[in-house]
Structure formats: structure tokens, C-alpha cells
């Protein structure tokens, strides 16, 4: 029980930035803009928030800086691929390259710590929050334990994410913006003739994608490690993208995909250095590869045909 709880607990931690990034990707891709720049946007946000939190001693200002950094990258992506009908893959790749280049350079110039930002002190970080009555309930079997060990004791960003999931789902399926978002990604010409501005919807979608990426990056640096570390996103953006495809571009299944990947990741940490019966100790490299192998297997075999938004990747050129 104890072991399982801590396994699930770390699943939630690992999943949070993935979920935020996957939802970010869902906004852009549902609007018809391919978003392989999730990785870069997260990285830039992680750096900006780490730096700002260090300078201002406020995690909230860090979050603000992170969100602004990711949003500005998203707007570059929008400018290239929506306003100028550029190639969305190249634009996204450029964002990733710029992000992995500019963050250590600025880090080195500002903080002289090998491209990382200085370790944040306690006041400048997001903390784990103990939910009310968590201690009192920790001895109640099952439900109490679930509440105190699993639900309680996370950062505010985790709780925000838990609120954001149903909110995003509701926006996509129940709001005017959601209807337009889906229409624009599916058949922009239909949306255009119905009087919807395709460019506007895509800009807004990328903006909110930027906000969510900003939160994801901030989670990594201002909460998880307490500082920005070079290339700290380590492929999480792409993993989120994979989860999005796994979920067939629908919010809740995409979140499920993130949880699956996060679970594999948590399992990997857990299995490291453990003696298993018969096989003995598995080399850590073999274990670290689990989430990625899982990604390939899931995407290749178990998802079935993932039907992307029909107009994804195609710049909208008004014509008739």
C-alpha cells in the first residue's frame, strides 16, 4: 500500500507538466497549427521563471515571467505560421533550437553558473501544500490514506492543473470559442465563410497554449528542482505531444496518456537499483528507456488510427 501510494504520488508530480503541455498542444493543434515547439516553450518558461523567481524572491512573479516568455515564443510561432503562412514544422523546430541555445547563454551571462540559474531559497519556490485535516486523516485506512498521502502535499500548480483539466474540456466542447477552434482546425474555409476569423482563432489558441506551456516550465524550475538546469525539459514536450496523439486530440484521453507516461517514468525511478526475482538487477539504462519504448509501442500499435484535425499543418489561404 505504502509503496503503491508513493508510486502514484510521484506519477502525479511527473504528470503535471506533461498534462499542461499536452493541453497546450491540444489548443494549437485543434486550431490547425502543428505544435512541435512545446518543448522549446517549456524550456524558455523554465528559464525565465527560475531567473525571475531568483531575482524577485517571488514564485508568483516567476510564474508570470515564465508565462510571458512562453507566450512570446507562441506569438512568434503564430506570426510565422498564421500571419505569414510559413511552414509550421520549421517554425516549431526553430523555437526548440532557439530555446535550447538562448537559455544557457543568458544563464551564463547573468548568473555565471554554467548556464543554470542559482538554486532558489525556500521563499522563492512553490511549496507542497498540506490539505486541511490531512494529518488527522492519515490513519484512516484507504480513503484517509489516499487523501493525505496522494491528494494532499502537492504544489499549488498541481491543484491548478487539476482544475484546468475540466475547464479546458468544457471550453473545447461547450463554449463558442471551442466550437470555432474545432471548426478552424477541421475546415477553415467553412469557418471563414461562416464569418469566423481563422487567424484570430489561431492566435488565441496559440496564446492559451503559451500560457499553459509557461505553467509547465515554471513547475519544472520553480517547484521541482528549485533552479533552471540546462535542457531540463529533456523531451517532455515531445512526450506531451505523443500523449496528445494517443488521446486523439481530445483533452481527457490526452490527460490519460500523460498519466500513463508519468506512471512508466515513476516506475522507472522506483525500479532503479532494485533486485528483481530471477532477472536480478536491471541496468539503469534499460530502465530509463521504458517511457520511450512505451511511447513507441502505444503510438504504433494500441491507439488505432489517430485521426488528426483535418487541416492541421496547412496554412489557411483565403481562396475560392
Amino acid at each position: 500500500m505504502e509503496q503503491w501510494l508513493s508510486l502514484l504520488d510521484s506519477t502525479i508530480r511527473v504528470a503535471t507538466p506533461l498534462v499542461l503541455a499536452a493541453l497546450a498542444g491540444m489548443f494549437s493543434e485543434r486550431s490547425g497549427v502543428v505544435d512541435i515547439g512545446l518543448e522549446g516553450k517549456m524550456l524558455v518558461a523554465a528559464f525565465a521563471s527560475g531567473a525571475a523567481a531568483f531575482v524577485t524572491h517571488s514564485p508568483w512573479l516567476g510564474l508570470l515571467a515564465g508565462v510571458m516568455a512562453a507566450v512570446s515564443m507562441a506569438m512568434v510561432h503564430a506570426f510565422v505560421s498564421v500571419t505569414y503562412n510559413g511552414n509550421q514544422l520549421i517554425s516549431g523546430m526553430a523555437i526548440n533550437t532557439i530555446a535550447s541555445g538562448i537559455t544557457p547563454v543568458l544563464g551564463l551571462a547573468w548568473f555565471q553558473q554554467g548556464g543554470n540559474t542559482p538554486q532558489l531559497d525556500d521563499d522563492s519556490r512553490f511549496h507542497d501544500i498540506t490539505l486541511p485535516f490531512a494529518d488527522a486523516l492519515s490513519n484512516v485506512p484507504v480513503l484517509g490514506q489516499l487523501y493525505s498521502k496522494l491528494l494532499s502535499g502537492h504544489s499549488i500548480l498541481v491543484y491548478l492543473t487539476i482544475l484546468i483539466i475540466p475547464l479546458v474540456s468544457w471550453v473545447v466542447y461547450r463554449s463558442r470559442f471551442g466550437l470555432r477552434l474545432r471548426a478552424v482546425g477541421e475546415n477553415p474555409h467553412a469557418a471563414d465563410t461562416a464569418g469566423v476569423s481563422v487567424a484570430r482563432v489561431r492566435y488565441i489558441a496559440l496564446f492559451w497554449g503559451g500560457v499553459l506551456c509557461g505553467m509547465a516550465g515554471t513547475f519544472l524550475s520553480v517547484y521541482q528542482t528549485g533552479s533552471f538546469i540546462k535542457e531540463m525539459t529533456a523531451g517532455k514536450g515531445f512526450l506531451a505531444l505523443a500523449a496528445l496523439i494517443f488521446g486523439k486530440w481530445r483533452p481527457l484521453p490526452a490527460v490519460l496518456g500523460c498519466l500513463l507516461f508519468a506512471f512508466a517514468d515513476a516506475l522507472q525511478i522506483r525500479l532503479e537499483g532494485v533486485d528483481l526475482p530471477i532477472v536480478g538487477q536491471i541496468p539503469s539504462q534499460a530502465i530509463q528507456v521504458i517511457p520511450y519504448v512505451l511511447t513507441v509501442l502505444l503510438l504504433a500499435g494500441f491507439v488505432g488510427r489517430a485521426v488528426a484535425p483535418k487541416s492541421i499543418g496547412v496554412p489557411f489561404v483565403k481562396s475560392r
Binding site: R174, R176, D192, A194, G195
Partner: protein, 508 residues
Amino acid sequence: MTDFAIELAGISKRFGAVQANRDVSMHIAKGSIHGIIGENGAGKSTLMSILYGYYQADSGSIRVNGREVRIRNSQEAIRLGIGMVHQHFMLVDTFTVLENIVLGAEGGLLLKQGMEQARAHLLQLNRDYSLEVDPDALVGELGVGLQQRVEILKALYRGADVLILDEPTAVLTPQEADHLFCILRALREQGKTVILITHKLREVMDITDAVSVMRAGTVVGNVRTADVDKEKLADLMVGRKVSLKVDKAERTPGAAVLEVRGLSLTDARGVKLLDGLDFQVRAGEIVGIAGVSGNGQSELLEVLAGMVEPTSGEIRYHGKDLLQEKSSQPRAALYRQKGIAHVPEDRSREGLVKSFPMFENAILGYHNDKTISRRGLFSRQALLARTRDFIRQFDIRPDNAQLRVGLLSGGNQQKVVLAREIHANPDLLLIGQPTRGVDIGAIEFIHRRLVELRDAGKAILLVSVELEEILALSDRILVMAGGQISGEVAAREADTVSLGLLMGGHKQ
């Protein structure tokens, strides 16, 4: 005095070197059905795009209900009460009918309330015009006839008083077209104004009150329908006497070149695209396949050309089943080698590489021909010589073998494909939509060429959605509906009514 819903005065529009509209004027009376008729490229669609705000006219003025307006985009057109039903439907396939209709006019930030109001309004419209559309059906699963009604509903929901329909019957069976005309008449009775863009004379005569005839970007006649007849309109439209009649002598066909038995094709979802087809094509005859597009004709051509493998059945060519042949080559190449030539329906996707020059396109699929290539290297001289032959024989313009094919007109592109396929001296020619997007002059030329081939004893299988073409060229006509052959008619006894019934799936 008649009130005019739309008045156009002196509209001109130029795209680069092309003058699409030149000094176009017309008056469209309120509560009438007004036809705009003309050949492909006469400028009808451009004119309506200007009215709907897609383009700005270079000069001229537009009055709506007597008031002069500028229409800068489609939202402004909608606000003025102008609605458009596009030739290619502007619908989101993954949405329900209701969602498609409220898109862009949701009536609030949240969907719920707007959707409920829209549903009530929609049911009302459904009743008023007997449209019979289920608001909760997925649009992608509806047939084209119903999708078109969704487009009409969309425009009406936005309060359109003037409804523009761009070639609305192109995708419909004659029966569906009749239903559409009932709807249009109901609209007229309710005081709506309908503008019908078409190139079909029958429709204009059947339903319109007045007609504007366009040719080469200008209006060559504004007339009341009651004052003219088909022949007069045709003369106006083309500017000279034309006959779509093709001179062809009776001929007794020879032995069967192609014999198809029980041919079926099922797609991944289990839908039967071809369902047990049996027919023959004999030497020296043209067999026409009529049908509304999307009833299996395209799949049939693809299967016979070896591009798609059928699920079951036999394709006997000169008596031997092609499907039993073993070969290391792709099927399409093998069939071609055996003398089956294929002019595909969609020439720009399957017949040509538009960015290649004419002389490279002239050998696509025949690149292993010993006379033009040796050990994998082409002889440029031989290529160019062959292409110049094509240009001479088929009167391809401009006569520059090095020109990118994408720059040629539709008719000349089609001539390149046809020249290439005929050059190989095939025994069987499969040809799909031979004159789609082709100008009248080229149509006559292509039709003559096909009849010559037939007279030379070749077997020709012709697929076309243009009934007139089928009627003019074929010796026998097979009608396809829902992947099956719903009937066979000798060309001498066929007429549009009986074919129309078969096209709708009524079996003989």
C-alpha cells in the same frame, strides 16, 4: 414598378492578365429566381464572389435593395442578407448539422442557449421549406443532397433574403435536383430572391424567371426566360452554333476485349464500393458509364487500371484473368504494358505532374520504352521529338514542349494525357471525365478523337458525370448506383429521364 433586390452596374475585375469580368450590369428582381448561365470560365463565379465579398471589384457599383453598398468581406454580405451555397460545400464534416449551422452565429459565449434557439428555428425552417434535415446528424455521414440543404439552412438561419447557389446540381441526381427546385420555388413563394449559377440550359428553362447570359467575362444578354428557348440561350452562351452531337456511324463491335465478372471492392470500413459488377467491352465500341459521382465509377476505373486491387471477381482481358497474372512489376505498369491505357478522372492528381515540363509528362508511365531510354538514361532528343509529335497531332497550345504543364489550360493538359495514352496504341482505353474543365473547342476535338479510336477497332470504357457526353459518345450505356450496375441501355434508346431513374438506384 418592380423592386430590385440586387443591381450590379459596370462591374469589372481583372486578375493579372485575365479580365474575369468586364463592365457587367444586371438587375435581379425581388422574389424571383434569376439564372446566370455561361460556360466554364465565363466569369459567373467571379461575379458572385464579388457580390459575396470575397473579391473587390476594380470598378462598378452594387446596390442592395436600392441602396448603394460596398461589400468588403463575407460578413458584410451576410449582414446585407446575402447568403451563398458554394459548389464545394463549406461544412465541417465532424460537426452535427446544428453545430455547422450555428458556427459563426452562436449567439453568446456559451453554446447551450444558442443551440437551443437554433434548434427551434431550424425545425421551423425545416417545416416551412420541407427540407427534412435531422439537426443531430453528423454532416460527414449525410449524402450530398442533404449536405446541400444544410448549406441552404445555414444561409437562411443567418437571415438571407438573397440566396446564391453556385452550380447546385453538379453533384445531384436528376431526382434530387428536382427536389432542390421544389425547395427553391418554396423560397420564392416566401419572398426570397434566388440567384442560380449554372451551365445547364434545362435548369434555366425549368425554374428561372429571368436569365443573364455571360460569355468571356461580359453579359451578352439579360432576358426573361419566357421570351427565349434553349437554342437561343445556347447560341448566346457560346457565341456560335455548336452541336454536342458527335457524328458517328453505326458499327458492329468485335470480340470482347474486357470482360468483368463479379467484380467487388470493399473498403477498410466494410463498405461495398463495388458490388458484383458484370459487363463486357468489345472491340470497336464505346461503353459509357453514367452515374452521379461517388457511386463507384472512380473505384471501377482504379481497379481496372490496376491502381487498386479488388476484393473479389475476375478481370478478363482478351480472355485471360489479369488478376491471376504473376509479375514483379506493380499491377498498373503490367496492365499498361499489356495494352490497357488509362486517362484518369483527376488529371492533375493522377495524370500529370504539374510542375514537370510537357515533355516529361508526355512519357509518364512509359519511361521504360526502349525508343526513348537506354540503360536508365533518357534521350532528350527522342523525348522532345515525341512531344512535338503530340503537339502537332493534338493541336496542343502553346506549342512549347519545355513548358511546365501546370501552365497549360485544362483542355490542353487533357490533350497531353490523351496523346500519351493513345501513342502506346492500346487495345483498351479507360477514360474518366474526358472533358471536365475543358473548353468547348477542345471538347469537340477530344470527342472526335475518341470516335476515331473506336472506329479503329479499339475498346473504350468511358466514365463521365455529364449525361450529354455519355449520350453523345456511347454505343451502350451502363448506369452505376451504389456500387452496382443498376441498368444497361442502348444509346439509341436512352434519354435523360430513364437514365436519371437508374442513376437514383431504381433497378431495371
